[in-house]
Subunit: 319 residues, 2 copies
């Protein structure tokens, strides 16, 4: 999948783990950012990567920075991870002095170059409309820009401002003062993104092909060979409905049709998926039939499979 993007002229990639960075480096990528607070238990792996590629890392504390600076032999690019409202990780955008202190340490430490300020406005995932996503986006950019101005010297800015989450990057047109965006989920999208308003149904690009193995004892639902080990337990919470782990779709020419919103995967155990059939699956599918399911969260679903198959029949193997 990375090769499709490289063919389109993309030459830098953001990943979520050092392991994934190593895999992309093996496939020839030379500019990789690991968008996760540096894990100082992986300094050996980080050091090996830093010798081979332009490596970007995230820190949010002097303790992590000190361990990193002391643990690598090649230069690494260090972003300060900023929280603009999500609340998960990083230094809060309004702690200017704390950020300035850390930036100073990065600039003066051995083998670390200050790359810039980086945020992930993951609270966009709680939005339920395009307008809500845009509101998160504007507020996040404003906060990050404010902080960047506070840190700027008298000359031109010598660091980057990096943002990225699929909802805001999908919906927003303006990224004032931003140097790079790092969405990931947009490659495939999923039912959660559709519910947020990040994409249209026609953008959903991955489904899990689940063999039918029977019906529930009360004959109300289809039993699929498609459980938590195939889909993950990620859910949608549609208003007025039970949690939904996936919805059926079908092949429509060379593409997927829209999700059948009258269908729902209502229960998952390790290997079993229970599908309340909708209009597309109402024709009593039986053993040997296959139901295509759009997952709630494509990232976790893709992580559970080592191979993927394109609609043209090509097999893609994971790094």
């Amino acid at each position: 999948v990375g090769e499709w993007f490289r063919d389109a002229g993309v030459d830098a990639v953001t990943v979520s783990s050092v392991e994934m960075a190593a895999s992309f480096a093996c496939h020839g990528w030379r500019d990789i950012t690991v968008a996760f607070p540096v894990n100082v238990r992986e300094l050996r792996e980080i050091d090996e990567l830093a010798a081979r590629i332009r490596l970007g890392l995230l820190v949010d504390s002097a303790a992590s920075l000190a361990a990193l600076s002391g643990g690598v032999r090649s230069r690494v690019r260090v972003f300060v991870k900023i929280d603009t409202g999500y609340g998960r990780a990083g230094i809060s955008w309004n702690r200017t002095e704390e950020v300035a202190d850390l930036v100073g340490r990065i600039r003066s430490a051995d083998r670390t170059d200050f790359a810039g300020l980086l945020t992930h406005a993951g609270h966009s995932y709680r939005a339920r409309s395009t307008e809500e996503v845009l509101s998160v986006h504007r507020r996040s950019i404003e906060r990050l820009s404010h902080l960047a101005r506070e840190l700027e010297g008298p000359g031109p800015r010598d660091f980057e401002v990096s943002v990225g989450d699929t909802p805001t990057c999908s919906v927003a047109d303006d990224f004032p003062g931003v140097d790079e965006i790092r969405p990931g989920n947009f490659v495939f999208y999923d039912l959660q993104q559709l519910a947020i308003g990040s994409c249209r149904a026609a953008d959903l690009a991955v489904a899990v092909a689940c063999p039918v193995v029977g019906w529930t004892p009360d004959r109300s639902s289809v039993v699929l060979y498609g459980g938590a080990v195939h889909l993950s337990l990620a859910v949608l919470h549609p208003a007025g409905e039970r949690p939904v782990y996936g919805r059926a779709t079908h092949l429509a020419g060379a593409s997927f049709g829209p999700p059948d919103v009258t269908s729902a995967v209502i229960s998952l155990s390790q290997e079993h998926g229970i599908l309340a059939p909708g209009k597309d699956t109402a024709g009593r599918p039986g053993p040997g039939d296959v139901v295509l399911l759009f997952p709630a969260h494509a990232c976790l679903t893709l992580n559970l499979h080592r191979e993927y198959r394109t609609l043209e029949g090509r097999i893609l193997r994971r790094g």
Copy 2:
């Protein structure tokens, strides 16, 4: 792990997928039951296994049986999957005629031997006390025994009765009329089993070692390198508490200590876990420290890792 059981004299195993059966067969197991309704899209893999081992399979419809019987060249043992109240899969225990019809088809079809009646009383997972588990157990066994008597001929019974779910098998002492039990989770147990009353804290035998990478922006919680791709999204729903994805423990001599019930993993994203620290983790762990987490559901967590490490330092690699 299978070898520990083989060393203790166990020579038959139940698995949840054909892929897992193939893996156990590669490691010398010769009596394997796949406790999942037969997926007739895997007849080639099933046929290869059936040529090598004593293979047990589950059916709950004439359609699956016909496809199976026509698709294998070696004999297979066929259990009829019975539902005794869980409601997930199988034929309801009180549909005697439907079961008798299917048993007759198995007995007369090519290459299929009737092995017996099999159930999984998975509704025991909804119990919240030993007494509730025992109540599920007694009712399930009664229903299965009733059906078995209806199917018996005048001579001695020539088929097996197979039950198995970790809660009932952990708690019950009496299994009247039952020939085999098939619990799985008991190998490691987890926080869900502890909440059900299936095990004691001292029985919890698997934890995930998660490096600390920092603190949340408000400094209330620890950020761990331990997300949904390491733990799975399986949760506990403790009364009066938010959903809990895991709890901290610590090493106590050659074993794990009890879960710190004052700690809780309160949020998971792909790679991040957010731990509200308890008494054991209140000492502000920092980057480079490691927190041991008991998972909510060991099966899904173990599925996400290719390697495990014993407390003696031995590395176990998955089949």
